[in-house]
Amino acid sequence: MKTTKSNVFKIVLLSFAFSLVSSLSAAKLIIPVSGSVDDATPVAVLPFEYVGTSSAPYDFSEVIEADLQSSGEFDPMSRADMVVKPNDGAIFNYGDWRLLGADVVITGKYFETSSGQYNLVMDVFDTVRTKKIITYSLPVNSQNLRASAHHLSDVIYEKLTGIKGIFSTRVVYINVVGGFNNKTYELIVSDVDGENQAVVARSRAPLMSPAWSPDGRQLAYVSFESDNSEIFVQDLSTGSRRSVSNKDGVNSSPAFSPDGKSLAVTLSRGTGNLDVYVMDLASGRVKRITDSRAIDTEANWSEDGQSIFFTSDRAGQPQIYKVSKNGGTAKRVSFVGKYNARPRVSVDGKNLAVVHVDEGAYQIAMVNYKNGQILSLTDGSLDEAPSVSPNGRIVIYATTRDGKGVLATVAADGRSKPTYLPAVGDVREPAWSPFR
């Protein structure tokens, strides 16, 4: 019986193999591919060629290289390794660059058209598919050289990833300068790479919780300059500001609704009990959204503007809850860990960046509010105040190095390690701007 069975098996196998062979010449071998890698795409950003008599006025490629590097999705080649230096697409040698290991090669050329006015042309080559994938020309002037470089980075990023780049967006944060007795709080807006800083508000009293309006033209923040907490909305282009909430007790954690017409805030209204309210910015009227004896605070709007996520310790420890913008029953959405706070919504429509305590360490994590899963992004001990880039790809947050607050970025999907932005003082509470 044993032999018979094995014979039958053998025959079946042989028949199968036979049919396989018979059809081999005609049929295709099926190769299933499900896995992929997250490693950065090797890219060579060649120094842009300046066509002119004077020396090159600006190093565009250095900015682009840094931008692409900061995304975590690209790995720029060092200039020393660029032993081939083509300057013209017509003679571009794909094979050489492929051998050098660059999947993407970025070249640029610009010349002065009039004083301080330049014409720039950028070419981007895909050495794997051996084709030029971008030709982009851009008029540039001496006032927007860096912004132009960021713009080119956005063009490249979007072409290569299918996602809008964030290199032209900004961040706002609080910087504390001065010693123990002469502390000054600055509200600073800078490019997302930390450059191009502008102080938009300065106060000897604490400034807290800056938030962007959806059009990127206004900031809401909390100031203690009148001894009590007070919420201001300030116009960035004119610098003018107005107080929108100066009620008894706590006025904190402002958050613009996606339509820009409302502001979610945390108020105690002299009771000592913090709850989330929604303020109509035009009339100043507020509507109570949460009503619990616990602390309800740090509101943030869902992408569709219909719900509000907030932190509440109603279950004993801070956790994230979701409630309708009109109030009602709140639903808990974070379950992993004893402490999840300060939710910030991602554009992906399913994740919140939160401060998550893991074995006593305050770290940044992503909470999926659809399925409750949590993804740790950082491994620090005092990471706080996350904010998600408008393309959903990066989380910026504050952490502490050498006793001082610094900003850092990390990929929102956890694929990269944190990158620290240049220290500018004692920095906290960053908030990422929307797209311009």
Binding site: T3, T4, N7, K10, I11, L13, L14, S15, A17, F18, L20, V21, S22, L24, A27, K28, L29, I30, I31, P32, V33, S34, G35, S36, V37, D38, D39, T41, D103, D126, V128, R129, K159, L160, T161, G162, I163, R393, D413
Partner: protein, 332 residues
């Protein structure tokens, strides 16, 4: 004859008429012949005669006519005499013939009489013979009867003898049959044992044959396989040893290691890429089949395969596949 006798004048007249007509035919024929000859002129002669002459002539003519009639009457009378003479002659002849007939009839009657006498004699003879034959027949029948009686008697004796003989034979056969049955039973038992052994042997043989057949079938299949592979005998071995699976896995993993799936890729991504490779694994051609990917993801898929090129080669060259259908379908 009588007719001729009675109508002799008419016959002669008719004969004469016929002779004249025939002569006319002949003259006519001559005339027609003469028409062809040139005509000879004929002169007409005329003569004037007087009344006396005429009366004389008439008298002469009447006399001539009377002579003619007399001659004719004489001739008629001669003819009648001749006819009477002939009639007389004929009556004599008829009488002679009639006498002859009577004589002949008498002769016939005599012959008939003689014939009847002969027939009567024959009849009598036959009757005598019949009588004699009947007596013999009767005698023969009696003899036959006697013979039959004798035969029956003999038959009965014979039957009796046979019955006795048969009885004895039956008894003998019974005895023999019993012995045979005994012998047969013994033989059958032996035979059965032998048959059982034979069946067992047969079964063993059948089994052995089946096994041989099976082995032959496998061998044939293997041969077919080998033939189908056009000499790539190691294919079967390679497949059986899992080389095909390892080949597929090696290609799959190489592509996966080179696929940077962009964040824009749809969560239900399924994309078929048809790949042609050259011996050695160099990718020579790509084309998309069914694919729900955006452009960036499609580009990433193409790049993954190009970056993976040259694709890994199989352990056994016989399973090298020129055409690949790479299905990009991330687990959700």
């Amino acid at each position: 004859m009588k007719f001729i006798k009675e109508n002799w004048s008419a016959i002669i007249f008719t004969t004469l008429v016929h002779v004249v007509v025939l002569a006319l035919f002949a003259v006519n024929i001559n005339f027609e012949r003469q028409v062809v000859k040139p005509a000879t002129p004929v002169a007409v002669q005329a003569k004037i005669i007087n009344g006396a002459a005429i009366d004389a002539e008439i008298k002469r003519q009447e006399k001539l006519e009377q002579n003619k009639l007399d001659a004719e009457m004489k001739r008629q009378k001669d003819l009648e005499d001749k006819v009477l003479q002939a009639k007389k002659q004929r009556e004599i002849e008829e009488k002679r013939l009639s006498d002859l007939e009577v004589e002949r009839k008498q002769q016939e009657l005599d012959a008939e009489k003689r014939q009847q006498e002969l027939a009567e004699k024959e009849k009598q003879a036959k009757l005598d013979a019949q009588k004699k034959s009947d007596a013999e027949k009767k005698k023969l029948a009696e003899l036959e009867k006697k013979r039959k009686v004798e035969e029956t008697r003999l038959e009965n004796i014979k039957k009796e003898q046979e019955a006795t003989k048969k009885k004895a034979a039956e008894e003998e056969s019974k005895r023999v049959a019993a012995a045979a049955a005994k012998k047969k039973a013994e033989e059958e038992a032996k035979k059965k044992a032998a048959e059982l052994a034979a069946i067992k042997e047969k079964e063993a043989e059948a089994k052995r044959l089946a096994e041989e057949k099976e082995a032959a079938r496998i061998a044939a299949l293997q041969a077919d396989l080998a033939a189908a592979m056009e000499g790539e005998e190691s294919f079967n071995q390679a497949v059986n040893s899992g080389a095909m699976n390892r080949y597929v896995l090696a290609i799959s993993q190489t592509i996966e290691r080179n696929w940077r799936k962009p964040p824009s890729a749809p969560s239900n991504l399924k994309c078929i890429l048809n790949v042609k490779q050259l011996p050695g694994g160099d990718v020579s051609q790509l084309s998309f089949g069914a694919c729900n990917a955006d452009d960036v993801t499609k580009a990433s898929i193409e790049k993954a395969v190009f970056r993976a090129s040259p694709l890994p080669e199989p352990e056994d060259p016989s399973i090298f596949a020129r055409d690949l259908e790479v299905i990009f379908e991330p687990e959700s």
